[in-house]
Symmetry: C2
Subunit: 135 residues, 2 copies
């Protein structure tokens, strides 16, 4: 079972790289340093741009830059962008909304777990990752 997908993973690496190096970083530099396929990396960065995490400038001295403080970019936020809202508690029996939802014991318990996981994922951010990585 995978919890973090590759695009989230690569996105986090790219963000850490950008945050701990220059202001503006080009795709090619990221590719060279992270070993991610170039077109895939581009796709990921463009998505981060659209989501407001990164800003970009085109042209000769263009590239990507962090648009927010590193501490304000959480792992939870990145996962939501690439994987949608992690939903630990889904019911499969019917296609419409499950009629038993309000009473479902399993769902209730999973929701509790979910809350805790989300809270923890929100606490991990680019700044804390960089700091922990250096220690």
């Amino acid at each position: 079972m995978k919890f973090i997908t590759r695009d989230s993973d690569y996105a986090l690496r790219a963000l850490c790289y950008i945050a701990s190096n220059r202001e503006v970083v080009k795709v090619d530099e990221l590719v060279a340093n992270l070993g991610v396929p170039r077109p895939f990396m581009r796709k990921i960065l463009q998505k981060l741009n659209k989501s407001g995490i990164l800003g970009s400038t085109k042209g000769q001295h263009g590239g990507f830059r962090l648009k927010r403080p590193a501490a304000a970019v959480s792992v939870f936020g990145i996962m939501r962008i690439f994987q949608g809202k992690p939903e630990l508690s889904s019911c499969f029996l019917k296609k419409e909304v499950c009629p038993e939802r309000p009473h479902c014991a399993l769902r209730k318990k999973l929701c509790l777990i979910e809350k805790g996981v989300f809270r923890q994922l929100k606490e991990i951010n680019i700044a804390s990752l960089i700091k922990a990585g250096r220690a």
Copy 2:
């Protein structure tokens, strides 16, 4: 993002049904009551049998029966059977074992979260689900 897959979900429903009804239950009865496609249900039950959660008898009065007390069958155990060990903390950069594993900050944090989730998933079991469902 899905956390529990259908087979795990259906397995849990089947187990709850068996545990809260007769000793021995046939596939057809489960299918009739749970609305799961018969061949899929069979596949799931056979896997539960192989895993030692259920026992089975063939022939005319055959069927499936719980092989352990309901309280000893955890959601965690079922998920492991159908989804493999949930691995919140995987690294994608290389195909071999990641050389940075011992130092990786993200992985360390995810491992902590993982531990908590596992503990909680182990605490939820068929007996507690049935009890909570009746309340």
